[in-house]
Amino acid sequence: MATWKPDPTFYPSARMAMQAKPEKLAYVAILHVAGDKPDALGVVDLDPSSSSYGKLIGRTPMPNAGDELHHFGWNACSTALCPYAPHPHVERRYLIVPGLRSSRIHVLDTKPDPRAPKIVKVIEPAEVHKRAEYSRPHTLHCGPEGIYVSALGAPNGEGPGGIFMLDHDAFDVLGRWEVERGPQYLAYDFAWHLGHDIQITSEWGTPNMIENGLLPELLLNSKYGHQLHVWDLRRRKHLQAIDLGAEQQLILELRQARDPTKTYGFVGVVISLKDLSASVWLWHRPNGQWAVKKVIEIPAEPAEAEQLPPLLQGFKAVPPLIADINLSLDDRFLYVSCWGTGEMRQYDVSDPHNPKLTGSVRLGGIVKRSPHPAAGPVNGGPQMVEVSRDGRRVYFTNGLYRAWDGQFYPAGIKGWMVKCDVEPNGGLKLDPNFFLPAEEGYRTHQIRLEGGDSSSDTFCYP
C-alpha cells in the first residue's frame, strides 16, 4: 500500500544519505556448506548499547536446501525519487534474496518485525528460466523503474549471462533486459551512472566455468572475464567493450561514483596471470570515449610452498585476490578486500586517479591467518564488504564462493563476520567486541544494512 510520505530511508543524494542515523541491524546471507540443509538469511544486532550486540538475533531459513545464497538487495531504494519515474511512496521493505546455484528467488518481508523477516514469495527457477532465459541470479539493484538482477548464464549453464528485470510491486520476472547485446557474453556485476544513462557491467564466467571450482586450464588460458562493458541504459544497447588485457582475470565488483554527475568508478580485478598481483582499475570518460587505467596494484606475497594450497604451490607466493571493493557515499574512501593475503585496505580516492593508502587491517589469510582480538587466528579472509551510510563503520565476511573456497583454503573456511571502525580522516581498526562466528557447517556472504548501505542505493541527484 502506498504511504503518505516518502520512505524515510530514501535520500535524493548520497551526500544526504550520509546524514542517516547509524544502522541497528544487518542482514547477512548464511549458506550451508554441504548444501543439504537450507541456507538462511541472518539478522545481526548492530546496536552497541544492546546486550546482543554483534550476535545473530534472527534467522529465516529458506524453504529448500542447496540454494547457495550469495548476494541480495532491497525492493526499493533512493532511485524511487528519480525525477522521470517518481514513486517515492513505496517502502524499502522487502529483501530479494536469490539462490546463486538454484536460481530460486525469495522475497522476504522485513516490515512487521525487522528482526524476523518472513518469506512472502518464492519465484521458482523454472519461472526465471522461462521468462528471462537466464539462470544463476547474482547481483541485484533497485532501479528507477524496476529491480535489475544480473545472471551468470543460460539455464544450460553456458552463456550468455546478462540482466533481467523484476517488477517493483508484484516481483514478477519481466524478462531479459538487453535489447542489443553486442559482443558481451560473460556477466557478473553491474553499476549505473544514472545522470548519464550509462550502465557498466563486468565479467566472471558462465555457470559451467565456475560451478565445479576454478578451472586452472581456463584461468591460465585467460578464459575468465577480462573486460568491462558500457551500455546505453535507456536504449538497453551495448556501446563499448573495454579490455583490461587478457592477463587480467576475473573482473568482478563495480563501484561507480555515488555522485550521478560524475563519470568514473572502480573495478576490482582478482588476479593477474603475469605476477599474481591483484588490482583496482578506474573507468572514466576522458574525451567522450570510456577508458580504463590501473590505479591500484597489490603484489603477491612470497610464501613457502608448504604453506600454500596445491593450486598455488608452484608459484611460491600468495596472491592478494581482490574479491570485493566498496566505496563510501562521499566518494572518498575505497575499501579493498584482499581475500588471499587476509587484508582489508582503505584508500583515499578523493582524487580517483591517485588513490592513497590510508588504512589496513590484517585478518585471516591463506598464509598469515592473522588473529582477531576476540577469536585468535582465523581463516578465510576479508571478502564481501559493506560500508555504513555515514561511512564510519565497515562490516565484512570471509567466504568467496563455496566451490572455490576449498581450493584456496583447503582446511575449510570457518565463516565469520566482523566490523571495523573508521577514523573520519582515514584509518581503520577492528572492533574488538564484534566477532560473529558462523554456525557450525555454515558460511556467511553478503551483508545488507537496515535502511540501506553504501552499495544498496543509486542516486539521481548530486
Binding site: 502506498a2 530514501f10 525525477p83 522521470y84 511512496h89
Partner: protein
C-alpha cells in the same frame, strides 16, 4: 471558469511528477539554472498537448452526443480513471540525457497517464467549446467554430500558463535555496490527492448532470 482552469494548472504545477523535479534534476546535472528554466518549456508544451487532446475530444464529442449524455459519460470516465489510478503502476524510463523532444513526450505521457486533462472536464463542460449537438442547423456555425476554437486555445493557454508559473517558481526556489532534502518529508502522496480530485470531479459532474 478561467480561475478554475488556472487553479487546476497551479495544482498540476505543484506535483513533482508533472515536471518541476525533472527540471531541477537536469539543472543540477548540468550545473545550470538556465537548464532548469529551459527544461520547463518543453515540459509545459507536453502538458498543454495532453490537455488539448481532452479539450479537442470534448469539442468533437459535443457535435455528436447529447450534452446530458456527454456529461454523464465524462463523469463516469473520471470516476473510473480515478479508480484505475489507485492501481496504476506504469513507470516510464526516460533517463537524464534528454532533449526538448524527449521532455515534451515525457510530459505528455505523464500528464495523460495521470489524467491531468480529464481533471479539467467539469470546467470544460461549462465552457462554450465545440458546436452543440442541437444548434447545428443555422447560420452561426462558422462563427461558432471560430469562437469555440479561440475559447479552447485560451483554456489550454490559461491552464498551462498557471502550471508553468507554479512549476517554475517551485523549480527555481528548490534549485537555488530550498534544496532537495525537503522532498524527504514534503513530498506527500499527490497521487492519492489526484485520485480524490479525479473522483471528486466526476462526482460533481454527475450531480450537475442528474440535477
Amino acid at each position: 471558469m478561467w480561475l478554475a482552469l488556472a487553479g487546476l494548472g497551479a495544482f498540476h504545477g505543484i506535483n513533482p511528477a508533472m515536471g518541476w523535479l525533472f527540471a531541477v534534476a537536469l539543472g543540477l546535472q548540468r550545473k545550470s539554472r538556465a537548464a532548469v528554466l529551459w527544461s520547463l518549456l518543453p515540459i509545459a508544451a507536453g502538458h498543454a498537448l495532453s490537455v488539448a487532446l481532452i479539450i479537442t475530444a470534448v469539442g468533437a464529442l459535443r457535435a455528436f452526443v447529447d450534452s446530458a449524455v456527454l456529461q454523464v459519460g465524462a463523469a463516469l470516465t473520471l470516476i473510473a480513471f480515478g479508480l484505475y489510478r489507485l492501481l496504476a503502476r506504469h513507470r516510464v524510463r526516460v533517463g537524464m540525457q534528454v532533449g526538448a523532444a524527449d521532455l515534451m513526450l515525457w510530459s505528455f505521457l505523464m500528464a495523460t497517464a495521470h489524467g491531468a486533462g480529464l481533471m479539467l472536464l467539469p470546467v470544460l463542460m461549462g465552457m462554450p467549446i465545440g458546436i452543440l449537438h442541437h444548434d447545428h442547423a443555422h447560420m452561426a456555425v462558422a462563427t461558432a467554430v471560430g469562437s469555440s476554437a479561440v475559447t479552447a486555445l485560451a483554456a489550454v493557454a490559461v491552464h498551462t500558463a498557471a502550471m508553468l508559473a507554479v512549476a517554475g517558481v517551485i523549480a527555481i526556489a528548490v534549485y537555488e535555496w530550498v534544496g532537495l532534502a525537503f522532498l524527504r518529508r514534503g513530498w506527500i502522496n499527490l497521487d492519492l490527492v489526484w485520485v480524490l480530485a479525479l473522483i471528486g470531479a466526476g462526482a460533481i459532474l454527475l450531480v450537475f448532470a442528474v440535477w
